[in-house]
Symmetry: C2
Subunit: 144 residues, 2 copies
């Protein structure tokens, strides 16, 4: 729990593996090896819609989306990023970032509801290290 | 065509009805009466990913998303907004804003690929007027 009472939604916690903290948002890896798929969850309590964020928080979120999408684009070379705040099933505000390829199993449809396959423990931990390293490099470049 | 050579994608032009201009983005109504569904298209040439925008443009887009989502929330009282940049079918950067209800025909799934029904000319023009009036009021409030 953060100082303002934020607690990650139980379903999100169950479906994902923690990757790190972006400042405003928690970064989670969707435990589905069919697609490189991260989820950003702004760590403020009682958020449902993007419009529940202040304008400053929205700009911060946009910056985090920019950094994390760039990292995914350079790591996974997607044909297209899918970035979405849906929330029909889990109401806590969360944003999907999915690196899509033209030979992935749902292409060209959206990935939601098309099933999934969990990572092995080794594969998850390797992938998370790659993402963490790339994020650290990008954030260092921005700071310098 | 704008000064930088922006031309609206032909498929987007075919599927939608123009609503207005938000500053950075064109506002379009998806011609599908099953859901209140607007599309924002940042009017800059050669945009594919959100990361193709400058940070200033991203902040401007976030502001436009905030205003237009707020207007849709107050007009249509959705259970949840779905906001997404997918682009698997149409590559020109565009952002969907869809007002979802628990009794709409695709609930709780995403709406893409679930079919559609065009508005009558009268219904489209009435709805567009409602949206334009609400947008004008919101923008006036922001400016004052």
């Amino acid at each position: 729990m953060t100082s303002d009472g934020f607690v990650l939604d139980a379903q999100l916690a169950q479906d994902t593996i923690p990757v790190g903290d972006a400042g405003l948002s928690r970064i989670l890896l969707m435990n589905n090896k069919l697609y490189p798929w991260l989820i950003l969850v702004p760590a403020r309590s009682d958020l449902v819609e993007l419009t529940d964020l202040t304008l400053d928080e929205m700009n911060l979120l946009m910056h985090e989306l920019h950094v994390i999408s760039s990292v995914m684009q350079s790591l996974f070379k997607p044909y297209k990023m899918n970035i979405a705040a849906l929330g029909n099933q889990v109401r806590q505000l969360h944003i999907h970032l999915i690196a899509r390829k033209q030979d992935d199993s749902a292409w060209p449809n959206p990935v939601w509801g098309t099933g999934g396959e969990p990572y092995s423990e080794v594969d998850a931990s390797l992938l998370i290290s790659r993402i963490q390293n790339a994020l650290a490099t990008t954030m260092q470049e921005e700071a310098s």
